[in-house]
Amino acid sequence: MSDLLSHLDVAGFIVATLVAATPLTLAAMGGVMSERSGVVNIALEGIMLTSAFAGYAAAVATHNLWLGVLIAIIAGMLIAGLHALLSIQFLVDQIVSGTVINILAIGITGSFYRTYIQNSELAGTGVLPALRLSFLPNSPFIGVITLAALALIPVVHFVLFNTVFGLRTRACGEHPLAAETAGINVYLVRYSNVILSGALAGLGGAYFTLQQIGNFLPNMTGGRGFIALAAMIFGRWSPVGAFLASLLFAGADALSGRLQISGVTLPYQILGMLPYVLTIVVVAGAVGRAVAPAADGKPYKKGG
């Protein structure tokens, strides 16, 4: 056992967990915003995949990684806007609308990948810089999107619980008719939140291509958008809770990676199941205690 522990250097493990938690935290916070306003967002996976691609493509085209991040965020907002249009305007079942976007994301990124990236001479974009936190002794280098995600946690928390916009958001998620009666434009609030969730998930998508590997691979998000949803539920629809839950999943991810390297005899596929099985266990275990916003998933018809 001590032999095993010596392989798992603790500081390295913490950093790996923090980094792996980046897209989960961002997407889960996006989910929090969207669902607090009453719109279920299972499109997070598709939004991240599209943004990962768009950010990469923009970075390749402009030779500017920062522009890539910006485009990834805008792409996320556009795709989320489609989800908003379908589910808010056209009253499409929100789960179906999310599924549409997830399939569309595979189709679009797959088509463009095959045409422009596969078999091309593109050497990749390189990755965004990692920073060292000067106020911490022996601080490791941490990627900028990870730092941005950490900085956004208090921001999202503040917006949601300490601003008028946040209050309106929560009102629309709990009782849209009452909100409308009080003079709140439910559609506008829901649109804003879904699109903001796209911006957050879009930044999460940029992590995959522009921070993690500097390249795009088909389906590279690998279900992280869905795990983020589980993190959102486990975190009881709060930004801080979502972050802590993301750390749990990311920890499982980082641990399975480290156990493989440290020569544990379990097959790597069994270790690879770890984050997914954990998600199932957590979703099943959390639900009794976690309560969704009352109007979550219910389309709102004006005057209805």
Binding site: L104, G107, G222, V283, A284, V287, D296, K298
Partner: protein, 369 residues
Amino acid sequence: MKLDRALRRRLFEAVVLPVLSVACGFVVAGVAVLLTGNDPIAAFTALFQGAFTNDRAFGETLVATIPYIFLGLAVALGFRAGLFNIGAEGQFYLGAIFGVLAGNHLQGLPGILHIPVALAFGMLGGFLWAAIPGLLKARFGAHEVITTIMLNYVAFQLTDFLINQGPMSDRHSTAPRTPFIDAGAQLPILFAGSRLHAGLILALLAVPVVWFLIERTTIGFRIRTVGFSQGAARAAGISVAWTLVVTMGISGALAGLAGSDEILGVSHYMPSSFSVGYGFDSIAVALLARSNPWAILPSAFLFGAMRNGAAFMQLETQVSADLISIVQAIVIMFVAAPAMVRWIFRLREVPAGGIQITQRETAGVTSET
């Protein structure tokens, strides 16, 4: 000619809406082809040739239609109870694994027994795999969308473990795959020189069976009632939890049957890239058919044709086969949003609103059951 209002609505929902949706899907996909710098006319011509007119193409389209029928029925059955079974893909894998196990390890059994036993094993595999999210939903209220998707990933890892130098791998093969199943367990070929197998007959039989199950049996009545309103079902004394578990189980059994049928009829062993997304596509198959078992047939045929034609299209024109995912997404979008189709085509008559697939009362990510 003046049709009465109710008939006009039914005609719109059953025929006009799906056809317009598919048409819109191809238009949007055509734009995507243009954006990737290719010729959409050439791409769609190749798609059509690959699906129908090339040598043996029609038979191959039918071969691809078979799993779509089983899987489309599986997803549609779930929808009828308000369940969104996105796990058909994983259940398809489990059905294949169980099919290979039975196909390999029951040697000496006569084919007339071996084939049904192996198919039933596949159903069992799918049933067990789908019963997990069913139980989790019934007992803990865990939303099936998340649990079934997670189980898909677990199924992929499990398959990779089993066949990639694992306990089910073929020691004599360099590729990661299982050994071939017993010759006696293979489904007979319908037409010599083609790959079209007797699974087609099974699939065609499955349609009326599922229709009968949904429309004419007690369990079907419970499924429909729970799908309509869990509150009403509870008030009528129906056990909602039990119905959800049974519905997921039957849905998984159909998906598992698709998996074992694919092993027994087409590949005769399990390769590492077994499915290429049949289970995911079947969500679109079921939605396009509006969860009506009979309508699964044309819907599955369309997707079989696209799947088969896309491979040829990719070869001929360098347009990615992923293009059909775009068609699929747009098709689902329009089928689920009739208001949008009417708006685009300026059709009169106010729609009754979007179709409801998942239940309102369970549509959040949690539910009480």
